[in-house]
């Protein structure tokens, strides 16, 4: 027992722990760094979660009612019933409404023809014209679907209309309420880890370089491996605290369900943190000063974040970009976070992504540690 204690104490007094403790103190004294470790990620996840929402709603709907009948007014009120459309004005002629659409006062326009009722009396189909501002492809496609749904409902309600032979009944699983924020939060989580991890790691690395204290590290009796490890371990531990904070925000503020094993998510977070540290260290071995590391990360981080499937689906990207996302740690992390948290999947489902994430982390940390060691030499 005593021997064990002495062994542990020896370890704690060892070179590695001395260096690691020095690193921890140094980070704590740098107020900007502590701030970007704790406050920034929490603020960012709140901002992203509240500000980004893909739902299509409150589209401004313009109407030209040439028919002026109870039936046409019933159709207009059907369209205004759901949250997608908001009646923004009625216009005298289609031309006037077209102008309103062109200067951006409307998103959707509907023209009900003057023979709307008469044609139906004769048993002929009446055609309602729908004008859509398709500049935003996604909004256009979804609002087109809503208009068609509303018309289909109207057709069903009209007396004498035959029932369609086949109907499709849809059920949304895993997220029946279609809560978009779950998708956004699980998507940006990986981006936040990599972004802040690389910034913090780069900052602690570059500081030694900028102030010339690398010399002092060289003079310590510690081996290069110990120096590198003592640099990485404290940053890793602090970043894991940040991860837990962000997870708490996701659960408490955004009510992301924790359906699967939280340890699995933590393991994935660990892989992501390591990758972030690797990226940051790698950048810092190229840069000469702190602002250069920041500038380089301006070019690394946006594509890493955007080509991850975190905010927009990977399937919607061009065919040649899709395989490239396999090299993106954030893409694997988002897959794991969504599968485990929202879908309740286990290791049997996410192991390819977890493996890929760990391999990527090993490569990034390995290469950057090697480059850092070479600088020490």
């Amino acid at each position: 027992m005593d021997r064990v204690r002495r062994l542990v104490a020896g370890r704690f007094r060892g070179r590695f722990w001395a260096l690691a403790l020095k690193e921890l103190r140094q980070i704590r004294r740098d107020r900007r760094l502590t701030l970007s470790l704790i406050v920034t990620p929490v603020l960012q996840v709140l901002l992203f979660g509240f500000a980004l929402d893909s739902e299509v709603r409150n589209l401004r709907l313009g109407v030209v009612d040439e028919s002026r009948t109870p039936e046409s007014r019933a159709l207009i009120s059907t369209l205004g019933e759901n949250a997608t459309f908001r009646l923004a004005g009625s216009y005298a002629t289609p031309t006037v409404m077209g102008e309103a659409l062109a200067i951006g006062r409307l998103d959707v326009g509907v023209v009900i023809p003057y023979d709307f009722v008469r044609r139906r009396m004769r048993g002929q189909p009446a055609t309602v014209q729908v004008l859509l501002n398709a500049a935003n492809a996604n909004t256009a496609q979804i609002s087109q679907g809503y208009v068609q749904d509303a018309i289909a409902r109207l057709n069903r309600d009209l007396v004498g209309a035959p029932a369609a032979p086949v109907e499709l009944r849809a059920a949304y699983i895993y997220n029946p309420g279609l809560v978009n924020v779950w998708f956004i939060v699980t998507g940006v989580f990986g981006t936040l880890i990599i972004l802040n991890g690389s910034l913090v790691a780069a900052a602690t690395m570059i500081r030694e370089k900028e102030r010339g204290t690398v010399e002092q590290l060289l003079m310590t009796p510690a081996s290069a491996l110990e120096v590198v490890a003592a640099k990485l371990v404290p940053v890793f531990l602090l970043l894991m605290i940040m991860v837990v904070l962000v997870l708490a925000v996701a659960a408490l503020v955004f009510h992301v369900p924790f359906r699967g094993n939280a340890l699995l998510v933590l393991a994935a977070c660990g892989g992501c943190v390591l990758t972030g540290i690797g990226v940051g260290t790698f950048i810092s071995t190229f840069a000469r000063s702190a602002n250069q590391t920041l500038l380089i990360s301006f070019f690394v981080n946006p594509p890493l974040a955007m080509l991850s499937g975190g905010l927009t689906p990977i399937e919607a990207m061009p065919k040649w970009v899709q395989p490239v996302t396999l090299l993106n740690p954030i893409a694997h992390f988002a897959k794991i976070a969504r599968s485990v948290l929202v879908k309740g999947a286990g290791l049997d489902v996410v192991y390819p992504n977890l493996l890929a994430l760990l391999v990527l982390a090993a490569i990034f940390v390995g290469v950057s540690a090697w480059r850092f060691r070479r600088q020490l030499g």
Binding site: R32, L47, A51, L52, D53, S54, N58, A102, I103, G104, P125, A126, V128, Q129, V130, L131, L132, N133, A135, A137, N138, A140, I142, Q144, G145, V147, Q148, L154, A163, A164, P165, V166, E167, L168, R169, A170, Y172, I173, N175, V179, S289, A290, N291, Q292, L294, L295, F298, F299, P302, P303, M306, L307, L311, T312, P313, E315, A316, M317, P318, K343
Partner: protein, 368 residues
């Protein structure tokens, strides 16, 4: 005036001698716009789905074929003795269509039947699109097998304006051009300002005869030269790679661009003047220029969806207005009646930044 021009010349020389900064202004932003503008899209095609056919009749197979021929879906074969839910759980497919037993018999008897669609709603937007697409395929199939029963009293004729092909890149290309312009010109401006403070060359400025206005204007004009070059190159990219063309009167775009570049460079100068440390200044611009422009400008998702408590901030984000101007110039072509307010807002925000930057500089005194 001569002093302003001299300041501009000095700044431009400094930029030319710093290759990283030059790459920062010209080459890399274009690469980012090209990559992200073409890659970001919300409208999925080739959605992987699986069909479980419990009926196995000619009619049910015809229904399944309707999904196979649709451009929106990519049908994955269901392995024997597997439930479609298992494929949904692993994420191999986004949706499952389940055709019930007696599907063919019910249709032939003229009784309405139902098929089921299970959609993985982890991604709400894709789930909505999947449902809409599957509904259209079903309607198409219904019209095919029973044209007389699907004749509806009211039908729609939809016309897509401004972007009839519904190409996402035409919407996101202009957006990412604005984002790139919100990052790089202000970063350069902030660096140019805070460098003087960090390297103490600001003292030379203080002892010279130049006034705060002249000094600031010189810095800003130099930043605008590189910013407008980046802007022109980006417009060239939109006209070629993104297949866009000017939809109407180009003057709002020209005036708006000049004002916007002034605005972001003034913002960068303000940050640089307030923070005499290059790394901290770049980080501040990253927060204000990049994060706010990315989140609160309507770049990817509509501004109207932002909750009220946050949305008011977006009216102070210059990128929000410039995105309206650029998208209008290339897509809607509404011209001045459509965007005059946005151009005005950019100018007002720019003046605000300039006034603040001047306040930070005006005394031209060494800070204690």
């Amino acid at each position: 005036m001569r002093r302003i021009l001299a300041q501009v010349r000095k700044e431009l020389t400094q930029i030319r001698r710093d290759p990283l900064a030059l790459a920062l202004t010209l080459v890399l932003p274009l690469a980012l716009v090209a990559l992200m503008g073409t890659s970001v899209s919300l409208t999925v095609t080739d959605i992987p789905i699986v069909i479980q056919d419990l009926d196995q009749t000619p009619l049910s197979r015809q229904y399944a074929d309707a999904f196979r021929t649709s451009l929106m879906f990519h049908v994955v074969t269901l392995p024997p003795a597997t439930a479609p839910e298992a494929l949904l759980a692993t994420g191999r497919v986004r949706a499952a269509v389940i055709i019930p037993e007696h599907f063919g018999r019910e249709i032939r008897r003229g009784r309405p039947t139902e098929t089921q669609l299970l959609v993985d709603a982890t991604d709400g937007n894709t789930a909505r699109l999947t449902r809409g697409g599957a509904g259209q395929v079903t309607q198409f199939f219904a019209r095919q097998i029973a044209p007389e029963r699907t004749r509806v009293p009211v039908q729609t004729a939809t016309r897509l304006w401004f972007n009839p092909g519904r190409e996402s890149r035409k919407f996101y290309g202009p957006g990412f051009m604005v984002l790139a312009l919100s990052i790089f010109p202000p970063v350069l401006a902030a660096l140019a300002m805070s460098r003087e403070a960090e390297q103490q060359t600001i003292l030379q400025v203080y002892v010279s005869s130049i006034s705060a206005h002249e000094y600031l204007l010189g810095k800003i004009l130099a930043g605008m030269v590189t910013g407008l070059t980046q802007c022109l190159l980006s417009v060239g990219l939109l006209l070629t790679l993104f297949g866009l063309s000017l939809a109407g009167d180009p003057t709002p775009l020209i005036v708006g661009s000049v004002l916007f570049v002034f605005c972001v460079v003034a913002f960068g100068s303000l940050v640089g003047a307030a923070i005499p440390n290059q790394a901290a200044a770049v980080q501040a611009v990253g927060l204000g220029g990049y994060l706010l422009s990315f989140l609160l400008s309507g770049l990817i998702f509509p501004i109207e969806n932002i909750p009220d408590g946050l949305r008011w901030i977006s009216s102070l984000v210059q990128a929000r207005y410039y995105i309206v101007v650029v998208r209008d110039a290339f897509l809607q072509g509404g011209g001045w009646p459509a965007v005059w307010w946005a151009v005005l807002a950019i100018g007002a925000i720019g003046l605000g930044f300039y006034a603040l930057a001047w306040r930070a500089m005006r005394r031209m005194q060494v800070k204690a």
